[in-house]
């Protein structure tokens, strides 16, 4: 089976500082991979390198494209990479404001990717947007409201709808539940889990919340100071951490 995403020796330096280094892994179709680590451990740098937002200094990120099979996204041309960015890839930002157009209605936000790939029938776009708002549990009467009038949790759900509307195969998530209160987090996680299972998505989730990876991720990668210190099945890593830092991380979770 061809991995959907195959990462080899990716490294990114900020001057003398290491952003991330020597990261290699394979992600297979339908698999959800969690990346955990403390602030500044290079999680977001790595995610941005994988999603094409940052150019890594070294290494390759091979994505199994629909038409041409495995291609290195680091060396492919920018138009191709941006095309992937609005068709087969999705990126969910931590702050919904970064991923949404705040001056455009909810329906317009969801429809943007459709129009970007050439959909030119208003009725169809509208119908798809309505459908997707329903799937992320946003009242369909709010389709013409701007995201500024939405709560934080709704904005985050809208961002997810906007990203998944073109049926991507790989979703990058940068702390999708950060900044939300726990009950809203729980609903969002439930929703994400449902969508990932239903659509057979592959996902890479960066977070520092171990509960999130416990619920969503099949596999886990623990990062510290820009390097991967431990990786394995989620339950295995969380229940029997081997590396000192993983042990610290697991034991730091507050039990209530």
């Amino acid at each position: 089976m061809t991995p959907l995403l195959s990462v080899r020796d990716v490294a990114k330096h900020y001057g003398p500082h290491i952003g991330c280094a020597d990261v290699s892994f394979d992600l297979y179709p339908g698999e959800v991979m969690g990346i955990v680590g403390e602030s500044g451990s290079g999680k977001s740098t790595l995610l941005n390198c994988l999603a094409g937002h940052l150019a890594p200094d070294r290494g390759e990120v091979v994505f199994d494209t629909r038409t041409e099979g495995p291609r290195d996204t680091v060396t492919m041309s920018e138009p191709e990479r941006r095309m992937l960015g609005r068709t087969d890839w999705a990126f969910v930002h931590q702050h919904a404001r970064d991923g949404l157009r705040m001056g455009v209605s909810a329906g317009g936000n969801v429809g943007e990717r459709l129009m970007a790939v050439g959909q030119r029938h208003y009725g169809t776009i509208r119908q798809t947007a309505t459908d997707w708002l329903g799937r992320v549990e946003i009242d369909q009467n709010r389709i013409d409201d701007r995201p500024t009038t939405f709560s934080g949790g709704m904005q985050q759900r809208l961002q997810i709808a906007r990203n998944l509307v073109t049926g991507p195969r790989l979703v990058f998530m940068d702390e999708p539940t950060g900044g939300l209160d726990v009950s809203v987090q729980a609903r969002l996680l439930d929703l994400l889990r449902g969508l990932v299972r239903d659509m057979g998505l592959s996902a890479i989730i960066v977070t520092h919340d171990l509960a999130v990876v416990r619920l969503l991720a099949d596999r886990l990668m623990v990062m510290k100071s820009g390097r991967v210190v431990e990786q394995g099945l989620t339950d295995q890593v969380l229940d029997d951490p081997q590396h000192a830092y993983s042990q610290l991380l697991v034991s730091s979770v507050l039990q209530v």
Binding site: S105, G108, M115, R120, H121, Y122
Partner: protein
């Protein structure tokens, strides 16, 4: 009367040369916004500094010059720019569309069809059609270069979702030769079909934004729309009150404080010619 203290058409020759290079590049890549080193002009930004610089660069002493502002030859902007070139270039001026070789316009295309011997110069306030959707210039440039124009349809989508139809009635975005999306300056969308396949050279100058773009003669210009909401070049559903024309673009004028109004052609030259030929509307004296 031309004053000797100015170089012909106000700008120095090196500046005109720079602007002509930008114009030629614009003509070579229809719809592409060419940056140029816009000069300070003796008028405020927003009064047509871009159009004036383009006009100055293309004018020759043999040209006959016409200026219209919202279709009219006799409004402040039109009168002052016309007298500006009378003084600094000494060119002949006219109000008759068919007699003019260079026409500078603000927000209209003349009703009288243009010919291959004419140049139409537009004054452009904001050349970037994607500006209010994407504030970053670096990003809009990238979107133009990669032909990522989905965002332009988001604006039209917003119009339909809010108003039930595409409510954008001026500065209606167009696609040039199936490549660049272009802002046709704030002309009413009624004028958009005239951009297409026009025999005249069309030049667009934005002074404050320092951009020039152009449409060579007979360029294909399509107004953007949705399959189920096609482009509609609408106008007021009335005949002109003075000349009775049903074809021209109309201004609505309030004539008293009792709510009475009349619709008249915005193109004054067109309206006056029709009246002189004996056409009469219901408000004609």
């Amino acid at each position: 009367m031309m004053q000797d203290t100015y170089n012909f058409a106000y700008l120095d020759e090196q500046t005109k040369r720079m602007i002509r290079r930008a114009i030629l590049k614009g003509l070579a890549i229809p719809g592409y916004q060419v940056p140029f080193a816009s000069r300070e002009m003796p008028m405020p930004y927003g009064w047509g500094t871009g159009g004036v610089q383009v006009s100055a660069a293309v004018l020759t002493p043999e040209d006959r010059f016409k200026v219209i502002d919202q279709g009219a030859d006799d409004t402040t902007n039109a009168v002052s720019i016309r007298s500006f070139f009378e003084r600094t270039a000494g060119v002949e001026t006219t109000t008759a569309t068919e007699d003019a070789t260079v026409i500078q316009t603000r927000h209209r295309i003349p009703e009288q069809p243009l010919t291959e011997d004419q140049i139409l110069v537009y004054q452009v306030p904001i050349p970037e059609p994607l500006r209010f959707l994407e504030p970053r210039e670096s990003e809009t440039r990238k979107m133009h270069s990669l032909e990522e124009y989905g965002l332009m349809h988001v604006k039209l989508y917003e119009d339909i979702s809010r108003h039930g139809h595409i409510a954008t009635s001026y500065a209606y975005p167009v696609r040039v030769e199936a490549r660049y999306v272009m802002d046709p300056s704030p002309i009413p969308k009624f004028d958009n079909p005239k951009l297409d396949d026009n025999p005249a050279i069309q030049l667009f100058g934005a002074g404050r934004e320092q951009r020039i773009y152009a449409l060579p003669p007979y360029t294909k210009v399509i107004s953007l729309d949705f399959d189920d909401h096609p482009f509609d070049p609408s106008k007021a559903d009335q005949p002109c009150g003075l000349c009775g024309s049903n074809e021209s673009y109309l201004d609505e004028i309030i004539v008293d404080d009792a709510g009475n109004r009349m619709f008249v052609c915005s193109d004054t030259d067109y309206c006056e010619k029709r009246q002189a030929a004996g056409h009469k509307g219901k408000f004609a004296a």
